[in-house]
Symmetry: C2
Subunit: 431 residues, 2 copies
Amino acid sequence: MPDTTAPLRLGIAGLGTVGTGIVRMVQNHPEMIAARAGRPIEITAVTARDKDKDRGVDLSGYTWAQDAVSLAQRDDVDVFVELIGGHEGTAKDAFEAALAAGKDVVTANKALLAIHGNELATSAEAQGRVVRFEAAVAGGIPVIKSLTEGLAGNQITRVMGVMNGTCNYILTRMESAGLPYDEVFAEADALGFLEADPNLDVGGIDAGHKLALLSSIAFGTQVDFDGVELEGIGAITIDDIKQAADMGYRIKLLGVAQMTGRGLEQRMSPCLVPALSPLGQLEGGTNMVVLEGDEVGQIVLRGAGAGSGPTASAVMGDVIDIARGLRIPTFGQPATTLRKVRSAQAAVAAPYYMRMQLIDKPGALAKVASILGDAGISIDQMRQYGHEDTSAPVLIVTHKTTRSAIDTATAGFADTGVVTGDPVCIRIETV
Amino acid sequence: MPDTTAPLRLGIAGLGTVGTGIVRMVQNHPEMIAARAGRPIEITAVTARDKDKDRGVDLSGYTWAQDAVSLAQRDDVDVFVELIGGHEGTAKDAFEAALAAGKDVVTANKALLAIHGNELATSAEAQGRVVRFEAAVAGGIPVIKSLTEGLAGNQITRVMGVMNGTCNYILTRMESAGLPYDEVFAEADALGFLEADPNLDVGGIDAGHKLALLSSIAFGTQVDFDGVELEGIGAITIDDIKQAADMGYRIKLLGVAQMTGRGLEQRMSPCLVPALSPLGQLEGGTNMVVLEGDEVGQIVLRGAGAGSGPTASAVMGDVIDIARGLRIPTFGQPATTLRKVRSAQAAVAAPYYMRMQLIDKPGALAKVASILGDAGISIDQMRQYGHEDTSAPVLIVTHKTTRSAIDTATAGFADTGVVTGDPVCIRIETV
């Protein structure tokens, strides 16, 4: 029942696995898509860096645009599909050009929206344009739609998620193969799983971008990526993974966002989660997002977080929404009404897992215990393991405490002369 | 960006837990809902069987309509919210009256749509009206939205789900408490978990209604509840649950719909699923739906399948969609284009679990084995248990076979004189 039956015309900038996935979908099932969209969906123009590369799909029916900006401005394009990536340069220029030229935009670009989302959404809405970005978060899982639309009647209380498949691959592979981080990192690199700047993945930045977008929708706040407390997985050792498993946990790069009395808490960091929980059982590149609302309770969504098909599926869902006439603000309410809130780092207490190397001399363990006590941290479990050299691995599980207490304690350890190297401290999430 | 900012006015027929949940949501967060919906959402009129009952919410600001039909026709109602239930009588009359009076309809009524969905959708679309029913399937889980919109670019290959919380409660309670079916059934009845006609729950009918609605969207076919192969949980014993657990399975009332070469297969029946799989781990009233598409792969959605908050959340999501201007056909494509397809019962082979009582005399087991062989069924495992009376429990796990082969074999057992009572046959789903 959309008010128009004219074909909706797409211009696609970026022809990697996602772009070619969209071409494949549009070419494979045109009648099915038209029946659902209420009108045909066509690709009119495309562009990418290399015109001559064989991408395994037939592009001969489409105009090859000189560049993304000119593609975004074409008269025969209704929706600009931005699959260039990056939060600056061509992607941003073309995005803005598309809005200025009166086009709707569908994007998979989490970095661009996490960093410039407020201004782009404001600009789009001022010009009456729609921006959709289901593919930017958790691949094929319809999580943006579920949060923005399905749960729109709820006050959202918390959003959690494992949203970087590469990190989850590395952590599960370290466990299953018993390999150290560096080796699995090299494997992931060889398999092409890592971004050009691997720190985007293993530093938690990519997943942090996604969390910042979910937070904005969930809490009606301006996108605040700078407010995300970020911690990557680079310090996790195979020993941590084994110790966690012994205690019934697995280590996941977990994002959590919740509104607290002190502001919006957003963190993306390694966490111990119960091994038998849905989050704990996630393998490889699979993503999981948990949405909690005052009325709906807890909703858990699981699916492939990346890849050609799943990501193209998310883009096509957005395109079909536009074809059907769905026109809602980028982050679910007008960008001008999104609140600017302070960020509250680690406001919510939790138990922590700590591992450190202790110099083997009398009173060493007592010093550590006393520093923890001084920081107000009480100990649930402490184990010192057998060892063959001059320092011993010590494992501590605390009762509920705050990140700042943990930081105070670890700063204190440095002065004792009995703790060597940096202690590893990982939050335990029991949900 | 909807084209109107006038308040959207609801008329609610039915004020049980769901209806009062909607009243609570509208009253608790009016600004949040208006910001997201792009306009205020108001309740103007309500009705239910008993005007004087205390429902714990303040209804004084709303007109009390004489009956549901007159409510549906009121000039001050834009959206008729149908929470009466039942596939005939008042619910259907009021639904039709609302469409005729130019109202959009939001409903939680799976029975009405499963049985009259084709005609109601056709009628609604002919009159330019929207019908939404997220609350009819899997409570608060946005599964209708995910399937109709988020995955709209996919050819759906299979839909599965545990969608009746009462059955799942009974089966998990039998297992955890070691209680027989009849006792747990009586418990569930005392707790108010059962429909007025309990066969709607334990006979699989309610869950079958939901599966028929999902099938229509997934495969672009007319709603065909009569085509759902239904089997309830009444024959499941505590012994079956224990045997299944011994083999690493749990028994769930599982719905499966898939398009096969021979037609649309829809079945709702008890199945053995791996105990450690997401479906196997579902406890109590929780629902889970699995959606599989050619591009997106497998998406799993989990959440509360019933209850005031979750169901009201789903209704409010639909209401906000309408406020935002989303107008799509009831089943995702125009009702007049939905295909009528033949139903293919149990077209897909699977292993089966069988349990029977065998009279304790020489050659009895050989007779059973020979009948299975004659039906083309090969045996993976067979166990005969110790016993104290004149018949012995025998457990058989087959290799992959069809339901019709199983039916042939069980019919054959009756003539042997060695099998007493009806054998229990439960499909094993390994996914």
